[in-house]
Symmetry: C2
Subunit: 185 residues, 2 copies
């Protein structure tokens, strides 16, 4: 296996185990058993390596779409929403990295393609269910963006701790249920 791939693997493990602060170029190099300058032979800098890691994160998120139930479009959409939230809570460090534009190269084509793919498939799921909003004539992709943002905010606020501190919110799923009610009622 090439060094480049091992660096990405090592960085991913380090990210999951130690958090986003621990994903340092020198730390990755040490964990991978190479000298501290070796990563720069394969990546132009830290941002490029982390972009590769984040791209893998988007791919993992996209892969979850394969496991959606083959029932009604409505159930597929709610399952996808739960899956998004579950991904964020299960892989908090990866989720954080994926949306930290200061750690990642926003112009990386593979990264932006992977991110767009996630949103596009989500938009397809939204378009397939006849929500009240859709019947009111709103742009379907705008509805998808709005719902995605609601999901995303739920995940971020929960990880941030602002909702966990409030005793009334026993779990993020409880809040998600309310959100889905608002959009799909």
């Amino acid at each position: 296996m090439g060094t480049r791939q091992r660096l990405i693997d090592t960085a991913s493990e380090l990210l999951a185990e130690e958090g986003v602060d621990a994903v340092t170029l020198r730390g990755i190099a040490k964990a991978a058993g190479v000298s501290h300058g070796a990563p720069l032979r394969h990546f132009s800098g830290r941002a490029e390596l982390l972009s590769a890691v984040a791209t893998r994160g988007y791919a993992a998120l996209l892969a979850r779409r394969e496991t959606l139930p083959e029932t009604s479009p409505r159930e597929r959409l709610t399952a996808a929403c739960h899956s998004y939230l579950d991904f964020a809570l299960t892989n908090p460090a990866m989720f954080e990295l994926m949306f930290r534009r200061d750690l990642v190269d926003a112009d990386d084509p593979a990264l932006s393609a992977a991110a767009s793919a996630v949103f596009d498939t989500f938009a397809v799921l939204v378009a397939a269910v006849p929500t009240p909003l859709a019947r009111s004539g709103a742009d379907l992709r705008l509805v998808a963006a709005s719902l995605w943002a609601a999901l995303h905010g739920l995940a971020q606020l929960w990880l941030w701790g602002g909702l966990a501190g409030a005793s009334f919110a026993p779990s993020p799923e409880a809040a998600l249920a309310v959100t889905l009610d608002a959009y799909l009622a």
Copy 2:
């Protein structure tokens, strides 16, 4: 004026002008005209100084509640939502800092109090509006949390750039209109 206050002021200016990466202890000290070690005489570390800055951010956000229209509760709520989004877009660096738990001391009492105050006043605004969700018997504070998350996600995703890249979303306000439709329709 005391040095401590000047450090907070300088850090706030630096944050607004240069972004969150530029808010470094040594940079703040230099901009304030003191030695690089002086800040540690007033703050236990970087996190404590940035917490003071973020606390000011929450206070500024809370202060916007004073400017809400004195019309119907519904209009007050939608105005508050627009205000939240506007705050994030107008002060992106401050908004980012406020929700970066790695830069801030989450246990700072003043900080968490200021953050809680923001959410609490928002929950009051939500409770005053007879939304379809409220009539369905959902916990009002859970509804408030859900709507707040939707707002928050909209702001974050827009600043992140994922929505701006999509040509269908001309402005964050367009997406906000859809969100408000979903909750208040």
